[in-house]
């Protein structure tokens, strides 16, 4: 792995990403060719005796088709020790090629961006931060809402000259709804105003989520973002609930899902079902949720429990020893009351397949790796 430092030094804008479920990587980003950032994307396709084959996925449009074909041919013929070696080879080749001369005239857009930005900062005097990027390609801004929460947004500028609506909200942290995504606009002030209106509308939602984060032991998400509209909340040593809120309909009854051994889940579900009829569209939703669950307060998880160094912590998968696998939490729980170990569906299925377990319809069953009692999980595609 000695080459990694050189890789970062020579190609700081190149990113490596592992391809899911394989030992190969995707390589994408920009490299400097003749003082210009050139976009490139490669895929590692095979590893033979420690040397790898790569395939060109995309080359910057600044180079014409024939250059891309030449690179493809080089990659087909050769294999490489590491990522650095293949990038060096491509870089050397591109340095000798002539890029298409493609100097567009962006003056019009530059003028408009600068004008709009200055109007924007004059109009919204309560902005917390605001910044126009040096190359005028984007604007970042942040603002504090009526409850002192900070919200930031990134607005990018479209230089393709295909449309007059050059400003587009590209990064923000709010729950999304398909029916009202932000549309590009030619007026920065109008666009930002839409963003503010959305924040205003979501105030009850933010309030409720913060109430969860303050008053309950949240197991997941680890670091909740504003766009995360669910919380997995600790109810006891072996039981938790996932509460999902509709951000745009906070006062509606939320969705509950209980995770834990059957007998505990059943007792909570029964409670919930008995109380469902009493739900009224009330001002204090948090209290409403407590009433639904028949709780005075959400229990707090004792912190001393975490201090000793457990190899597999509560709720973690007993096969991969972690909580999250591809963003998923362990969802299968051994039904043996003395065991109650957690497993990711993927891990347990993988073990059952490896140990030739029985498949019946859509479920596969075998012995619990911990207690050896029979358990089953859904078959994965």
């Amino acid at each position: 792995m000695d080459y990694l430092l050189d890789l970062v030094l020579q190609y700081p804008l190149i990113k490596l990403k592992a391809i899911e479920k394989s030992d190969k990587v995707l390589i994408r980003g920009k490299m400097l060719v003749k003082n210009k950032d050139i976009f490139i994307a490669l895929k590692q396709t095979a590893i033979i005796n420690g040397r790898s084959k790569y395939k060109l996925i995309k080359l910057d449009e600044d180079f014409n088709e024939s250059t891309a074909i030449q690179i493809k041919q080089i990659l087909e013929k050769e294999s490489f020790q590491n990522v650095l070696e293949v990038l060096n080879k491509i870089h050397k080749h591109l340095e000798t090629e002539k890029p298409l001369i493609n100097l567009e005239n962006h003056c019009e857009i530059y003028r408009k961006v600068i004008h709009e930005y200055s109007e924007f900062t004059k109009f919204f005097l309560h902005l917390k931060t605001s910044k126009l990027l040096q190359d005028l390609s984007a604007i970042t801004a942040s603002i504090t809402d009526s409850n002192y929460r900070e919200h930031s947004v990134k607005i990018t500028v479209d230089f393709t000259q295909k449309t007059s609506d050059i400003f587009e909200i590209s990064e923000f942290d709010l729950p999304q709804r398909i029916q009202d995504t932000f549309k590009p606009n030619e007026n920065l002030i109008v666009l930002f105003d839409q963003f503010l209106a959305r924040i205003e509308r979501l105030q009850p939602y933010f309030d409720l989520m913060e109430e969860f984060d303050r008053n309950t032991t949240v197991l997941d998400p680890e670091k909740p973002k504003r766009s995360d509209s669910h919380r997995r909340i600790w109810l006891g040593e072996n039981i938790s609930t996932i509460i999902t809120i509709d951000p745009y309909n906070v006062f509606q009854r939320p969705n509950f899902k209980f995770l834990g051994p059957e007998y505990l889940v059943e007792s909570y579900s029964n409670h919930l079902n008995n109380n469902l009829g009493n739900w009224v569209c009330q001002e204090n939703i948090f209290q409403g949720i407590l009433d639904l669950l028949g709780l005075e307060d959400f229990p707090k998880r004792p912190t001393t429990k975490n201090q000793h160094n457990l190899l597999v912590d509560y709720g973690e998968c007993s096969i991969c020893f972690s909580l999250r696998l591809n963003e998923k939490l362990p969802e299968v729980i051994c039904t043996n009351k003395r065991c109650e170990k957690f497993y990711h569906n993927e891990c347990l299925y993988g073990w059952f397949v490896a140990s030739n377990a029985k498949i019946v319809f859509n479920a596969i069953s075998g012995n619990c790796p911990n207690c050896e009692k029979t358990i089953s999980c859904p078959v994965l595609e």
Partner: protein, 155 residues
């Protein structure tokens, strides 16, 4: 590069950290070597006090495939001192069912070490396996290729 770690590497890393921080009594891992190559560890093991192996120390080698924990680790005694035990051959191979047929992914390096410690501790007479000479001459280098016959659980 943490994002590029496979679940298998992540688990090994976690096991290693746990073994370094909180090892079972008499067991310690060569951290530096394991950190360099996560797929091959050397573990030092002390004979427990009050047993036939008191005062002796042994070295265990763990080799993991990239299918770990679905695939059991390859565990052998290495180094100059191989314990004399009815289930340990003089070439370091160990006859222990959890290392092959009875392996489960819920087991861990720590669990395997504890099993070996207890296997040694319950021994009443230091003695090589009866078929040692023949086995050592004919066996595969990899003990997992051996078709073991698990005779008894008493030692």
């Amino acid at each position: 590069m943490t994002s590029a770690m496979s679940p298998s590497e992540r688990r090994l890393q976690k096991e290693l950290m746990s073994l370094i921080k909180d090892p079972p009594p008499g067991v310690s891992v060569d951290a530096e070597q394991a950190e360099q190559n996560l797929l091959q560890w050397t573990i030092h093991m002390e004979g427990a006090t009050g047993t036939l192996y008191e005062g002796e120390s042994f070295q265990l080698q763990f080799k993991f495939s990239n299918k770990y924990p679905f695939d059991s680790p390859e565990v052998t005694f290495v180094g100059s001192n191989i314990p004399v035990h009815p289930h340990v051959y003089s070439n370091g191979h160990i006859c222990l069912s959890i290392l092959t047929d009875d392996w489960s992914p819920a087991l861990s390096v720590q669990a395997v070490c504890l099993s070996i410690v207890s296997m040694l501790s319950s021994c009443r007479e230091k003695q090589q396996p009866p078929d040692n000479a023949f086995y050592v001459k004919t066996c595969n280098k990899n003990p997992k290729k051996t078709k073991w016959w698990y005779h008894d659980d008493s030692v």
